[in-house]
Amino acid sequence: MRRLMVVLLASLALTGLAGGALVALNLRGEEPVAMPAVAFEATPAQVERGRYLALAGNCAGCHTQRGGAPYAGGPGIETPFGTVHASNLTPDTRHGIGDWSAGHFWRAMHHGRSKDGRLLYPAFPYPSFTRVTREDSDALYAYLRSVPPAAVPNAPHRLRFPYDTQLALAVWRALSFEPASFVADPARTAEWNRGAYLVDGLGHCIACHGTRNSLGATETSRGLAGGLIPGENWYAPSLASTREAGVADWELRDIVQLLGSGTSPRGSVMGPMADVVHGSTQHLGTADLTAMATYLRELPAAAAVEVAAAPATPRAAPERRDAGTMERGARIYDQRCAYCHGDAGQGAPGAYPPLAGNRAVLMTTPVNLIQIVRQGGFLPATAGNPRPYGMPPFGQVLDDGDIAAVLTYVRGAWGNDAPAVSLQATMRR
């Protein structure tokens, strides 16, 4: 009996300690939000600065519905744990953040906690936004106070148990999140530091270009080494590997042009990155784009995550491909693709990208190619590329087998030597 009491007391104490640690870890670094709120008088310059920063962070990309009221909340973000809805950020007091103080807003950005103290889901990329300065957070707050209030109710998240509980989120945060501040590297130029602040902070590039662990947390230590975007079946290529989307060997001006216009002599953006250029980077000033380009160009080289396991030395023998598939692929290529991309995959730079030797074609994972063939698309219309050329969506006329065959051919013709594309890969939606 006494033994049982000891065990019970001990486990109670342990639970208490774990709970205390959980709370402490979730609140670390937090200062209480001043109540009543400190009076906040936004200057016009601050509002304008906030408007610009909201573009740099592409807030509208998640917080605005297609054609909906600006910042009134967005469509669901698919995650492996369920769907998370971006909330209403307009100054509506009932549904938006009308009754938030600048201190509440800062706590959300820096600590990932809502006004009512709820822990926020990291689909809101506060693991990146935690590096945003208080000054910039206040400017964003000032701007969001200035947009028209919209009485649009927030859609409830749809998450599976146990991910729908605050306890799960508390455990996740204890393991995966710590508030941080941007610390400039004195050994680097001011430009590089500005780029680092934008890329790793508001830009939250790692949300797509980083890998995530089994808990869905971005793995900062692995950097921008590429990752499959949850729920979208697009692969955000590594920015640290020149075999993928790394820009270490690019001219600075080409990187700036890519981010500013969506296209450059070295490559163009499609898929989710076209969303980013359209909603964010095309609106940024040349100085900030140059800063981002400087930082991205000097990212430490790292093997892309997806190829890290592959042998570093070139294969002795070329990839083996099924002759029948290659023949079928060649026939489809001649019918559908050759007119624009050329008989030898040479493309027409500026209008239609080359496919021979194109690293986007040769990346190990073919998911982006499958999406592009199926959906086609136009590059984003930007000031630097206002009338882009387009590609038809071939999903209506090519079945999964056709797409596997034509991509196997494209990845194996004209000196290209990337793995064949399987039917299983094209059947995955």
């Binding site: 519905q65 297609r66 054609g67 909906g68 969506g262 076209a274 969303d275 359209h278 019918q335 559908r336 007119y339 624009c340 027409a348 730079p349 500026g350 209008a351 239609y352 959906q375 086609g376 698309g377 136009f378 590059l379 984003p380 219309a381 206002p386 009338r387 882009p388 050329y389 387009g390 590609m391 038809p392 969506p393 071939f394 999903g395 209506q396 006329v397």
Partner: protein
């Protein structure tokens, strides 16, 4: 399917080759050249939007298995409104939304004007239908007279006496595939297609039944297209419903 694919391929290649070829001889001495970019691809709007032809064809697809609507010669205002609606979430088609999601108003206007300006012959419409004579008669009645008891205006009241559309915002209803017509009318009925407010077709669509839709789509799809299948400049009478896709002057005009 194989036949349709060949047709699509022929359409795409036909258009691409046509736009890539030399421009028609100009009456002046200056050589008529299509401005080409450094890569040799014509710097024309036709070349830039050649992607559209893959599904829509140059003249539009006609036939019982066809779906994609004709673009050539439709009023520019109508085409622009549809492109913007796909972009801004008023119409839903995943391919169309994906294609136009990042395009600007200016570019969408240019694309709309390009297709509106194409003056191409219509392919022959099918002359037979598997719809019953009674269904076709009902379709004809709805198109030409409407159904006053349910407040359904006749198609001709807004789409023109010859159903060839009205400038700048009302499309032709002839020369379209039955499948497309019925799916669009069905989308109005189920509130999954929208237009700029006031959304007149939403009002009409919600008053229709599925039987009405089948009847009117079946009848419209087999109407021969008049030789001058141009959208008319104006309607003889005001629109029966206020319509956001038409300038206000149009619905205020008196007979």
């Amino acid at each position: 399917m194989g036949g349709r694919r060949r047709h699509l391929v022929a359409g795409v290649l036909g258009c691409l080759l046509a736009t890539a070829g030399p421009a028609p001889a100009a009456p002046v001495a200056a050589p008529a050249t299509i401005p080409a970019t450094s890569h040799g691809v014509p710097d024309t709007i036709g070349q830039r939007v050649a992607a559209c032809i893959a599904c829509h064809g140059r003249e539009g697809a006609i036939g019982n298995g066809a779906f994609y609507p004709r673009l050539a010669g439709k009023p520019a205002g109508y085409l622009y409104n549809q492109l913007a609606s796909f972009r801004d979430g008023r119409r839903f088609n995943s391919d169309m939304t994906h294609l136009v999601r990042h395009l600007s108003d200016d570019y969408l206007r240019e694309i709309a004007a390009y297709f509106a300006g194409l003056d191409l012959p219509y392919p022959d419409t099918p002359s037979t239908s598997d719809a019953t004579p009674a269904t076709l008669a009902r379709g004809r009645e709805l198109a030409l007279e409407g159904d006053a008891t349910r407040g359904v205006p006749a198609c001709v009241q807004c789409h023109g006496a010859a159903l060839t559309g009205v400038q700048p915002g009302i499309p032709a209803l002839v020369g379209l595939p039955r499948l497309y017509l019925s799916s669009q009318l069905g989308a109005w009925l189920t509130d999954s297609r929208h237009a700029l407010p006031p959304d007149c077709m939403r009002e009409v669509g919600r008053r229709l039944t599925t039987a009405d839709i089948n009847a009117v789509a079946s009848w419209l799809a087999i109407q021969p297209v008049p030789a001058t299948a141009k959208a008319v400049a104006a309607l003889p009478r005001p629109l029966p419903l206020p319509c956001g896709s038409m300038p206000r002057a149009a619905d205020a005009r008196t007979p």
